[in-house]
Symmetry: C5
Subunit: 237 residues, 5 copies
């Protein structure tokens, strides 16, 4: 169920970011919302969501929130909770039905994609040839494969309801939060829509996380060297 | 389903306490009900509750009970049974819909929160800035994080239905019943609403529990010292 | 669903006995039905019951049966099948709704309760103070605790629908069928309602079961003495 | 759901055979259908049945089929698939509701029953005393016990809807298909209803199965004798 | 739910191919669609399908797609996702109801069947004698057995709705994709309906897969020879 009043934008762009691998979707969305000073306009709720209230500065927030920027003719849907595969169908129906009802012109779904390479690539796919042409110079086209989970459901639903949609998938190497991948996706959005959303703070955040990871790995390596070797059957020794 | 007749209070405060960590919610609620001599006015039931009748002095009680004090313009909802995550959504909808229907002005949700420190702190959060200001000198604001379970669902539901709500979370260190944390929450309520609910009996109860725990730990320590060391493979001895 | 025609009794007493610990509920109920020569008047069925037909003397019986004695103004509900916790709510709703519809004046729920002592005690609880006074000289009042399962659901439902109800819990020491506990409950009913239901046959049945258990225990003891000691790792011998 | 047109018989007998222990129900039913050259008139389907199409001579058949013999005033329901306990309630409701709607006079439920003895007994039970008298010289009355599964549900449903019903249970010693038990049940039907359904082919089939089982057992015995004894811990030898 | 506009064909043939053993159904269907240059006309969706969007050349596709060739009076339904047994009943109802509503004359269900032999056989079954005669010189009739899964449900549903249907089962030896079995099925279709769908590319694809499998097996054999023998209890050595 969507709890939101009337929107002010006309035929807006809708961008959604749910947490998945690397949390690329919600890190990017949260950054866009803050940088464009978007206004909170409502929330989505469902009996299929886990029972959680989210706190920022002591104030209760809904876990799936909707923001608007009339200036940028933009609606954002950002989620702090992952959507289970079994409720993806229903959640995407509700979301895209609502998108249709408020006259959304295009949908962009942000998510992560696991890759082996270190390069900060963004893969892209679309529901129509026009949309594919629009992105082909800004992303690496995701030629063949599948998009699963809530992002896949949303793309399918846009395809069915004939709302042009783009999938932007930030390449990420691990299960850890990846602000660098989120930044790469935002840069593509800056190019496509003429935004100037700052991404340096995300890069700094990424560097902090990477430094911590390195330190953790080094500590682990040291502690393993100093430890005596484990013996499987000590009582036979 | 709520089984309750008409209430006498006008725009009352509603306080709820479901059992969670430290049983802070229902210990505090039960104390308030007794100290303010509140009147039993009904119950909540659901096919999602476990099939249990609760006995006090040989009389059957419903596990989720509703009390009223017209004098204090107060409604209490207290539960002897925990609510499973999968039914939190429905239970909180039913409860807050009912709260709306009887004109409840504010909601307070009491629960426990696990901390490492020994200090008897109370953390607080709210659905509006006004409510947050009201509590900020009486609690430690719970800046960032999540409130999960029935208490999280109730806060979310109040947020959606725009009934101002406060979450009071009594810090507790263990899974054991913690009357001291319940007392700390009641002291905050005394400050906020001018009640003079006695909490000494809870402190005494806490001391009794702590003494028993200490004794148990000491007995355990002694019995371990006197016992011969366990041997993993005695037949090789 | 209740399949039963009109009843002849006016404001009857309804006694129910579902199988639980010691099978106290259905052993007592079956004895009452036979001793008072009650008439079969219908059955209860549900998709939640296991698919079972019960045979007596080659004739098909429903597993949950309803009997009436117009002479004693009494309705009995007896079950050969236990009710799962997840269907207790629905089964008790259906049963007590029906009880209300036929003008039942009081409900008695018979069940077992596990105790350590050998004494043939009956514990009692009630939904109202009047009912509690009625039983307090005939049973040991079950001061504090919970009644779970179908018996707990029925007591809660009577409480909600304001049909005065008594819970009679025959103390039993083991999981074995306990006709002695059933006899103790019947004696309480004889006292309360002036019945003269014979319980000697239950005592004899109990003695037979106990004798068999003793013999079994002795045989076990003997066979253990004569047997060579078990050795955990014979191949090391 | 029953997919069948109008039937030609008036107040027919309905015999059903679902697969259970020894496959007695469907082996007997299939033999009756073939020997009486019964006509296929429809099928039963349900979302609770496993997704299976059954092939005979390359032609698709429904797994639960209905046949009619106007000459013998007989309806047969035969199933190639077992019914799970959780769908027995619904399947028997649908089947016996349909039986009622076409004016079925009596129902016979064929199934197997596990026994220790080698004798080819048929046990019988009924929903009314009249039906029990009808069978008492032809079967061994199943005095006390339970009939579980779809056969139990069908008997209960007939009892509720007051359609006189007989349960014929062919005694069988193992989980293997038992055409001999099916033949014994058919002989009872021949006696009761004056049919002359041939059962020799079932006996021959039984002898073939038994011979194969004997041979298998002997081969197993031989191979065990010639084999060197297994040693549990060869590495300690 | 079927999302498709009006079709242009009159009383068309409908062929469906869902992925099962050897992926025979969807490999064959995909080849037919490409070779006959069929037009995409819609999709099937369901809350029971996994949440997946399928990509070809960067464009979003629905996982269950419908194509039409007016020239060949043919409708194809091809799926990239397997259908779980528990949703086969509903999916086949929706599909064959739609087939009935657009006036489909005949249905062909393509699937794989596991066999031991290396021969590229196609087994066939049908819902009517006419259809069986039509295929008997082109396939090996599947005399007796069961067709399970979505293909079995579709055949049953056609049988009930009296839409003549043929099952073509490409024999396959392993769980690996088997384009050779798909080619064999297409050759039968070419014979039956006078198509000239090319199958050489499938044979080449099969040879490539088989070569890779051989190489894999050889590599495995070599690596096992060179490796030192595994010892079960090295610490006793």
């Amino acid at each position: 169920m969507i709890n939101a009043g009337e929107i002010k934008s006309k035929e807006p762009l809708l961008i959604e970011g749910f947490p998945g691998i690397g949390l690329v979707g919600n890190i990017a969305s949260q950054q866009i919302i803050e940088e464009l000073s978007m206004e909170y306009i409502g929330s989505m709720e469902s009996r299929f969501f886990p029972p959680i209230a989210v706190l920022y500065d002591g104030l209760i927030n809904m876990p799936v929130r909707i923001y608007e920027s009339e200036e940028h003719n933009l609606i954002m849907v950002v989620s702090d909770i992952p959507i289970s595969p079994s409720s993806s169908y229903d959640v995407s129906k509700v979301l895209i039905n609502w998108a249709g009802s408020i006259g959304v012109k295009e949908v962009i779904s942000i998510a992560g994609i696991a890759t082996m390479s270190d390069e900060a690539k963004v893969f892209g796919a679309a529901t129509t040839k026009d949309m594919l042409e629009k992105i082909e110079n800004h992303v690496e086209i995701f030629q063949m494969g599948t998009i699963s989970g809530i992002s896949g459901s949303i793309m399918s639903e846009c395809f069915i309801q004939e709302i042009p949609a783009i999938s932007l998938l930030g390449a990420t190497r691990s299960q850890n939060p990846d602000p660098r991948a989120a930044a790469a996706v935002i840069n593509v959005l800056n190019d496509l829509y003429g935004y100037s959303i700052e991404t340096e703070s995300l890069i700094e955040q990424a560097e902090r996380i990477e430094l911590e990871m390195q330190k953790l790995a080094e500590d682990l390596r040291k502690s393993e060297q100093s430890a005596s070797p484990r013996r499987e059957f000590p009582m036979y020794g």
